[in-house]
């Protein structure tokens, strides 16, 4: 069994979430397990009532970056949530909410989009990660 890819998502902007979704889909396409751990503002973006909203971009995007991202979206680029749904259809993708961040944001499991499989602590995340790389985005 190949070691899983483990993504810790901290940032909640659409550009970083899209980068994470593409990395997840690529690994899933190769049959590699992916564990996604949602913390802080990334978890906020997975709220069921906000997942399709505009989550802004990282500060370095600037005005030109905003225009470039908008143009790609207008040309038909899938949202990061849709890319993650496609990745999960391939199998092997597990998305967990960090329990500390759930407390921080006063969230209950029912507040989250169905993309999220559950809530766990950091120890459970590391146990699932095994010897695979941990990437923080």
């Amino acid at each position: 069994m190949e070691e899983p890819l483990n993504l810790v998502l901290f940032s909640g902007t659409d550009d970083k979430l899209n980068a994470a979704a593409v990395l997840t889909a690529g690994a899933a396409a190769l049959g590699r397990p992916v564990n996604v751990f949602l913390q802080y503002w990334a978890l906020e973006a997975f709220r069921a009532d906000r997942i399709e909203a505009d989550h802004g971009l990282a500060p370095e995007a600037g005005v030109a970056g905003r225009e470039a991202v908008d143009a790609l979206r207008a040309a038909g680029q899938a949202s990061w949530a849709e890319t993650l749904r496609q990745a999960k259809e391939l199998g092997g993708v597990d998305i967990e909410a960090c329990s500390l961040s759930m407390d921080l944001l006063h969230l209950e499991p029912g507040d989250l989009d169905p993309l999220v499989d559950g809530v766990e602590g950091v120890t459970a995340f590391y146990l699932a990660a095994g010897g695979g790389p941990v990437v923080f985005i």
Partner: protein, 83 residues
């Protein structure tokens, strides 16, 4: 139409033009899962990464790259499902 084993007839064509990375590969994988062994699937992609990524995925997944052709503004990648 004359057919040889090296140029099998295309069973299904997926038009993924206008879809961005990794969309065309996602669509191809879905089609392959829905297909039978021996089916030949063509995917059309205007995403520049596809002509690199999709053949490598085909090799890793244990299928056969039948053809890769660059057309006007897009690439046609043809794969035979082997397993």
């Amino acid at each position: 139409m004359l057919e040889t084993p090296s140029t099998p007839a295309i069973t299904r064509t997926i038009d993924a033009r206008g879809s961005f990375c990794p969309g065309p590969l996602m669509e191809l994988i879905r089609a392959i899962r829905e297909s039978q062994v021996g089916d030949v699937i063509a995917v059309w992609s205007s995403d520049r990464g596809s002509k690199i990524d999709i053949p490598r995925w085909i090799e890793k997944a244990g299928h056969r790259l039948v053809a890769l052709e660059t057309r006007d503004g897009y690439d046609e990648i043809v794969v035979e499902k082997l397993r």
